[in-house]
Symmetry: C2
Subunit: 209 residues, 2 copies
DNA sequence: AATTGTGAACCTCTTCACAGCT
DNA sequence: AGCTGTGAAGAGGTTCACAATT
């Protein structure tokens, strides 16, 4: 298959959520123009993004909202259940444990890890926090597909190394640091400061241009 | 000034953090090649990104870590203090209140808002949660520059509308929905599901290519 | 000898524009 | 008549490659 850009994939995620809301509003048909308007892109962009994966609309009529949502869900792998382990039960980690948006899309947090002896054994959302030293065995048993790393920057690389050793192939990193992973392992970063700093940059330059 | 791409700005944020760590390690000089290696980009990319704003290195020698950090900080507006209001004190909001990375970069959360009467009046990190209906007056008094929106998707657009009315020009949105803002107002989205879904897409397609 | 700064080449992504369906 | 699907054109971002500098 042709290599698809990250930008296209993340727009598909957006369209998916937009379709979800349209369906909630009992809207059955939508045009690329309407999706584009809602998501702040061009209609050609919407059609092009979809065209990499097939033809999901009907000329002259638009797209059936349910069908398109199902198709995009299938493209993104949201038709599957993904088992997730969360490492680091600090502020961010705790917020993610019951972030309903994840569960809604089929990402089920099945294991919680932390290294703080004060936290190990505590129960959050019916899950007992496990010591990270035991990560290897548990990941296998629970068939974990994705690890979310929400540990301090200083220890993030060593945590990721251990996860990779344990066979994890997909990591979502919340630590504000660039991490190295071997080929074949995917890592995506969620660095909340970066967007804030972009706002800072624009505010600062607003009245200069 | 020439229009700078978002990609360049977010890489500058990365370099900034990398320099911070190099300085902590008492490293005084760094080459574009070394920064590139750490952050997973090419050295030409590092030099090009910097070149939009000036010449910060010395040929044959590289960059002084402290100077470069100061310069990037200045470019991004991190030499200033930015007053931030946080709207929505749920799971995510609570995690952000004491997310130390923000404070470290000069983003100070000064006001907390929520509409839940159970929460209004509660104190978190020395800040009393205020009813969102009073947002207008408070934003003025505290000279707020940036609003972080961490409310449910259903109410996010109406919250943003009120913030815009109150004169806010920069918004960081955590609700998983595309929001409309008038020209002149900047909005950045932090949609944690999008990155997870990109991982899902790649896992699903891993063994097909 | 080493490394920056940068125009030019290259590549990738977006938009245009229209043929093709409904 | 209306809207999709898509090749081609255009815009924008990245990498190359080398002159300039220390």
């Amino acid at each position: 298959m042709e290599r698809i850009s990250d930008a296209t994939i993340s727009r598909l995620s957006q369209y998916y959520r937009t379709l979800d809301r349209l369906i909630e509003q009992k809207i059955q048909t939508v045009s690329s123009d309407e999706i584009a308007e809602i998501d702040g892109v061009t209609s050609a962009q919407v059609r092009k993004d979809l065209s990499f994966f097939g033809s999901f609309g009907r000329r002259g009529l638009g797209y059936n909202t349910r069908d398109l949502k199902t198709n995009i869900g299938y493209i993104l792998g949201l038709d599957k259940i993904w088992n997730v382990a969360l490492i680091g039960i600090g502020n961010i980690g705790r917020a993610l444990v019951d972030y309903s948006e994840f569960k809604k899309q089929g990402f089920i947090i099945k294991l919680l890890f932390d290294n703080d002896p004060e936290k190990v054994g505590n129960i959050i959302n019916n899950l007992s926090i496990i010591s990270f030293s035991e990560v290897h065995e548990h990941l296998k048993v629970e068939d974990i597909h994705i690890a979310i790393v929400a540990v301090p920057a200083k220890v993030a690389q060593s945590v990721v190394n251990k996860l990779v050793e344990a066979g994890i192939k997909a990591i979502l990193n919340f630590a504000p640091i660039s991490l190295k992973v071997p080929r074949g392992v995917m890592i995506k970063n969620e660095n909340m400061s970066i967007e804030l700093e972009a706002l800072s940059y624009h505010l600062k330059n607003k009245y200069k241009k």
